[in-house]
Each structure stands twice: as structure tokens, then as C-alpha cells.
Symmetry: C2
Subunit: 369 residues, 2 copies
């Protein structure tokens, strides 16, 4: 039958979901999620002031959002001490990544990342026909020296590094990041994913918007507790950031997002409280893991990677046994990382469920064939 | 200085905003908008039940949205009597258009639309390197026969038609649309924009998801009063609709959108009330126009195209004079349509401002050099 043909790139792409949501798992298994600790959201939620502001704003949702995101960009610029045209707002970091790849990657262009790093970045690269090249982790850290070296060797158009890192929760010293940035050619776009910035122990490398090839991505989804609204922002020089205006869905960042992110940014006291609460939750997750004979990795993020101390198949069995108990966690799949499960920080009620479920899950996993 | 190079397509694109928002106009002119009647929003707002539901849901915005939009797709499917995998949800019709173009248009592919039709569609076509070809309006209607003919002649990959039409507010009979659909080759994607469906006088052509090349786009931005949240949906056969899953930003439709659209869909009584209120506002806009010696066109939408009965420059002067009075309206720019201004339906308070401002604006425009 005659039908329209997709582009050559699209024809080769699978229908996919980079992350299957816990809602889908519930629909498939019929098991209600009792502890939602898998998506690195913040169970501590957004600031009560954000909730109040959002509630008050709902009657205004009949107007289109400001396509320039003027107020939010201005507030972020003031906070960061840069110009507002050095900031772009997007539908989460995911949305910004898709736009970034579209701006720079032609079919066959090389893009360098770590094996086991953020899969949605890879999804977008493949979606525009990029040629992904992988550098293995050095233990539980991404390997910035090797990433920069591979970018140079391959003439890569783009290189990705997250600091702090997902899925391992590790952080590299700012000095290492500065060396990495200097070691990447100016013609190669550096995508520095700082989604977990707020929970990191060390201040990041200073912002330098003169650099022609550095885009830093940040989000309101983690410490700010607003994953449901999807608000990410990109920081970089005027040429890079302005280019989003050539291709973006200008009205894509909706009014709820604009209102909530502004309010979240204004409530610094809540952010500090949430960061402390996340740190306390990490400590408790580590204790729960260790009480059960597992090893918790140090974390600079809002989750803890827990080494199940056997192979990837075993860690997967633990994850599945936790799911059967209504505890939603995720795990890395890459070789060398796959013996870990990844548990998000959350309030005590959720961690109580985890504490009760983990020994049961381990017993199940150990008795599995 | 060495810097990363954009793709060839992006290099040629300007930084742009398809529609300058009234917020930007306020920032530029310092004149506060007293009547927001330019963006075809609904000043009647969403249902009070939607507002209440949204308010109740705000504490849950810490979790990522369901990337499958399962509940909303299911509800729409039930309403429309089709399968849920024949529906895709996107960040407004704008977002869906960008994805559709990306799925099908390679550089140089021909895309047919009407001269003066929705500019954001054109923005996306140009953004993927498509070759836009234009058919003039036939009076105040798009010309479906000519659109189909040009699509055939040029071997177009895609053809766009809005019914009801924006910016003229006209509607074509369903029989004409059915003939148009049949006249377009099966290899050419038909983008049937039904943003203004709810306010149309006649039922649309029946949904036929067996057709391999028809995508219908609908929205919660117009009669449902939720422009600020940006929720559009696409209806079509499984192959077309499923393809969005190859490229979309899966978490791009946020939780506020999902919650609000579901609640809006459930409140049919409010929709009927809003459609009636919009119809009454159209009647009043027409009366205001005619009281001032202008001609209001019949409207099947939530706005009225008003013929200023001189040339495009005069209509632009009227628009600017209205803006000086704090009345935000828009106007078509295409030859043959540009003597019109486009006034959105709104509540009486806004139309009172319009009624007072229009004679003043006309006097200014008439005395302009």
C-alpha cells in the first residue's frame, strides 16, 4: 500500500522510551509502587511557597506563556551574574539536549560520551544520525581525560560529561573539570550536564561564557523538587545559547513551569533545607544498604549507587525483587557498573518501606535459580 | 576564533520568534495590555473544575510525568472511539508540528501550504530544510483543490490545511475536506489542523485511522482555555502516530498538562458553556466592528477577522493604534488578507475596552500620514 516514507534517519529508528516510567511498570505488573525511589526525583517535593504560587497562578493559565521566558531568564542571569541571553530555557534537560544535538550534529558526526552515561543524550544523538563513541568509566567515575582524548582523536563534534555523575553519584573535583574543558578542542561542543549541581560537595568551575564551545545544563527537577514540570536551562556563550532560538518550540515551556521555576529560585532557604534533607536521606540509604551487607558508594547527587557485590544479573534480580515489594529503583546496565542498583533519596516514609523490603528482596534474589 | 560549526541547515536559519508575545510588546512599549485579544486564547479561561484539579495536584509535581501519557491518551481514545495508540500528545500543536516535519521532511522535500496560513508550521518546515510552496487563499478561504493539485504536481511530501482556518476564521464544509483528503496522494502526509474544531458550526469529517497519510491536530489551547499549558494531540493511523515515539522528548508533556487536560476533557458542560460564550463574544466583536464602519467576517473560530476596508498598511496602522490603547490584536500579513485585523473572543470586560478603543484607534489611523 502506498504510504508516506519517513526520512532515512527516522526509518532506521525504533519506537522507544528512554526510561520506562514507574506508572508503566505498575500497569504491567499490577503492583502498586509504595516507595518511588528510582527516578532521582525529590520526594521532599518543591518549596511550599512554590506550591502556593502555582495554586494562585492557575486561573491565569488561559494565556500563552511568554515565548521568550524573559522573567525566568532574567532571574537566573541575575543569580548567576551573566547576561540573560547567555541562558536558554527548555522542556527539561532532555529537551535542551535534543535541541543541542539538532543544532550541531549532522549524520555521521562523532559524539563522545561514557559507556553507561545518560541514555537520553544518546537517544537524541542517534535520532539525528550521530556516530556515538564510548569511553568506559574509570571505576565509578567518568574519565574526563579519556573523553577529551577520544574527542581529539576522532574530531568529535560534541562530547558529554555529567558532573556530578548519573548513574554512579560520583563527583570529580572542579580542577579536573577545568582541565577537561581546556583539553577539548574549541570546535567540539562540550555538554556539561550539571543536573545534580545543587547536591555536590564542591562548587563547580566558574561560569565562563566567553568559551565558544561549552554548554552547561541545569535543572529544577532534582534538588528543587519540580521534576513533574520539566524545566531545564542551558548556560553558555551568546552564539550557542542564541542558536536555540533558530529551532526551538518557542511556546514549549509552559506557564506552570515559568511560574514555579521563578518561585523556586526565589526560595533559597527551602533549597538549603532540601539539600540537607537529601544528604540525610543518602546517609540513611547507605546505612540500610550496609545493614544488609551491601556497599553504598559516596554520593554527590540525590541518589545512592549501591554495590550488590555480585554480578549484573544478581543486581537485576535484586531490583526485580524490590519491584515485587513495591519499591521502585533503577540500575545501570553498562558492564563494570551493572552490579549496582541506584536508590533515590526520599523522605523517611519511603525509606522505611525500603528498609523493610531490602532484606526480603535480597533473600529472594539469593534463592533465585 | 575556532568555534563549533552548526549544521548546514541551522547555519542558514535566523534566530526568530514565530509570534512575538504581548509580554514582549509590553516590555518594548511600556504600555500595559488592557485587553488581551490577539493570540486566540480564551479569556473565558478553563473550567473551574480544571482549576480546582490543578490546585489539588500541585503537591504531586515532584514526580516525573508519565512518559507514555497513558491516561490522557486513553481518555481521548475513549472519547473519539479509536485506539490509544492512534493518539499522540505533544507540547501544543506547535510541538507536534515540529515532530511531524522531522519525521518526514528531508532537505529539499516539497511542503505545500497556503500563503498566509499558520507561520509556525512554516518555521518548522524551514527548520528541517523543507522546500515550502504556497497556494493563495481563495478569498477568505484556503483553497483545498489548489492545495491538493499543487501537492500532486510537485510530488510534495506534506500538505497543510487548517479547518476552521486561522487567520481568517473561515470554515470549509466537511464534504470539501473529504474531497481534499481523497485528492492528495497517499504518499503525501496531510496535516489537518483542527485547532478550532470545537467552535466550528459543522461536525468534522469522520475520523478514519486506516488512512495512511492523514494526521489531524487538535488542542486544549482554544475552547478549553488552556493555552498556557500547551497541550496538543495528534490523531492518525498507528504507523504515523507511533513514529512520534522514535523522536519525541518523552517527558516533555508535563504533569500540570496531563492533569489539566484530563480534567478539561471530563467537563463537557463547561466546554459547551465556553463555546456559547465564545459565539456571543464573536457576535459582539462583529457589532463593535460594524458600529465603526468595518466589516466582520463570519467566524468558525474563537476570533473574528475584521476587514478594515483599506490596504494592509492601514490595517497595520489600526493595529498599532489599538496597541497604543492597550488593546492587543494581531493581523495577517499575506497579500489579499492583510487588510484584516484579527480579534480574539473574550469576556465582556475585554470587549468593553475594545469598544472604547476602536473609534480612537481608527481616528488615529485615519489621520496618520
Amino acid at each position: 500500500m502506498a504510504q508516506p516514507s519517513f526520512t532515512a534517519i527516522v526509518e532506521a529508528l525504533p519506537e522507544t522510551v528512554p526510561f520506562v516510567g514507574p506508572e508503566a511498570i505498575e500497569r504491567q505488573t499490577g503492583i502498586a509502587t509504595r516507595a518511588r525511589l528510582g527516578a532521582n526525583e525529590s520526594g521532599f517535593g518543591p518549596s511550599p511557597k512554590v506550591i502556593a504560587t502555582l495554586r494562585d497562578a492557575t486561573p491565569e493559565f488561559w494565556t500563552y506563556p511568554d515565548p521568550e521566558n524573559f522573567e525566568l531568564r532574567s532571574a537566573l542571569a541575575a543569580r548567576l551574574g551573566i547576561a540573560s541571553d547567555e541562558i536558554a530555557i527548555g522542556e527539561g534537560i532532555d529537551g535542551l539536549m535534543g535541541q543541542l544535538v539538532r543544532l550541531f550534529i549532522e549524520p555521521g558526526d562523532v559524539v563522545v560520551t561514557s559507556l553507561g552515561a545518560y541514555p537520553t543524550f544518546n537517544y537524541h544523538v542517534v535520532g539525528y544520525g550521530g556516530d556515538l563513541r564510548f569511553v568506559p568509566y574509570a571505576g565509578v567515575h567518568e574519565d574526563p581525560e579519556a573523553l577529551a582524548a577520544l574527542a581529539r582523536e576522532t574530531g568529535a563534534k560534541m562530547v558529554y560529561l555529567a558532573n556530578p555523575d548519573n548513574p554512579m553519584g560520583s563527583a570529580l573535583p572542579a580542577a579536573d573539570i577545568a582541565r577537561f574543558i581546556a583539553a577539548v578542542p574549541d570546535t567540539c561542543v562540550i555538554v556539561l550536564d550539571e543536573a545534580y549541581l545543587e547536591t555536590a560537595p564542591e562548587a563547580p568551575v566558574p561560569i565562563d561564557t566567553a568559551r565558544p564551545n561549552l554548554i552547561r545544563l541545569r535543572t529544577f527537577s532534582k534538588a528543587y523538587g519540580l521534576a513533574g514540570l520539566r524545566c531545564g536551562y542551558a548556560i553558555g556563550n551568546r552564539r550557542l545559547v542564541g542558536a536555540f532560538n533558530r529551532i526551538r518550540n518557542h511556546f514549549g515551556v509552559n506557564k506552570a513551569v515559568q511560574v514555579a521555576a521563578l518561585a523556586a529560585l526565589a526560595d533559597e532557604a527551602y533549597l538549603h533545607w532540601a539539600v540537607d534533607a537529601i544528604a540525610a536521606a543518602r546517609t540513611r540509604i547507605a546505612r540500610i544498604a550496609e545493614d544488609n551487607g551491601l556497599t553504598a558508594l559516596p554520593s554527590a547527587t540525590n541518589f545512592v549507587a549501591v554495590d550488590c557485590r555480585r554480578d549484573g544479573a544478581y543486581a537485576l534480580a535484586v531490583l526485580k525483587a524490590l519491584a515485587a515489594e513495591g519499591v521502585f529503583v533503577r540500575k545501570p546496565a553498562a558492564p563494570g557498573l551493572d552490579q549496582h542498583i541506584r536508590i533515590s533519596a526520599g523522605p523517611d516514609a519511603a525509606l522505611d518501606v525500603l528498609a523493610a523490603a531490602l532484606p526480603v528482596a535480597l533473600a529472594h534474589a539469593q534463592s533465585a535459580p
